[in-house]
Symmetry: D2
């Protein structure tokens, strides 16, 4: 079971909405809409992806990481978590 | 004509690919894939959106902003550009 | 004259304050203060640096970039501006 | 004991260097140096602060968070960790 199990529907709903946002941006570009208006919508999709990433990270920490530590086997999970946080902070 | 006119096909291709990435993330969640693997793909989609945003911003500056300044009417465009950069840097 | 000429005192005041914030963080570490409290102050210094960067970028665009374009010599400045925005957005 | 205890000297050395970087930026502004050169140094200081933040977060997770979970008392620490990661990712 992944850590986001209890939020699975919420994560799926958000990703569906982000897919719609990205399609909306494509439509704006098809229609030659103004650069800054397109940019604003790209920024909204990016902020929504950030929110999903933070939700996934939170669920992962609360479940997978806690369980590994309780089982006396946390080092690999902690290392992996730190790397994920670093990629997220550095936007890569 | 929007500033990204000459890169329109490239922008559309990238957005199409990002839409595919977001759908790929949905599929991973449907299949209960491991949190960190899902996170990595969310991060990749986010980095791709950032790249599109930077391309749009560059085109906008090179065309719309330059033209407005040359027409002696740059102040509003400069202000708008600065606000767009601020939103992008602050991830909002 | 740099683009930030008219905001020079404001930029200097902010940088002085950021230097004080960084020294404050050092003092917290000297005193073995709690990790999360140290982190919060590091984050505050980082947000303050971001604000200075955005102010410098705005002044640069409003003055140096506009003047270069008006002098018919904007291409190099536009390229340089776009590269600066990219480094800022990507946190590098 | 804070989580960064074993890296205390390294954290202090880095903060000292960042303080020097911020003072270097002030000197550049005093000397009316070119906006983009100032910006590049502000960006370097910001990246250095990010690296310190990630080191503190890593130490905090490896020590304080792990110990709290092992003591059966991890919920508050996990919540606090998630909030710190969110502030870091959102640059606030």
């Amino acid at each position: 079971m992944p850590g986001y199990k209890s939020h699975k529907t919420q994560v799926q709903t958000r990703l569906k909405r982000i897919e719609g946002q990205v399609r909306g941006v494509q439509k704006m570009v098809d229609e030659d809409r103004y650069c800054i208006d397109v940019l604003t919508q790209v920024g909204a999709a990016k902020a929504a992806l950030d929110a999903v990433a933070l939700l996934l990270l939170q669920d992962h920490t609360e479940h997978c990481v806690v369980e590994a530590i309780q089982a006396g086997d946390g080092s690999k999970k902690i290392l992996e978590l730190n790397e994920a946080v670093q990629r997220l902070v550095r936007g890569r």
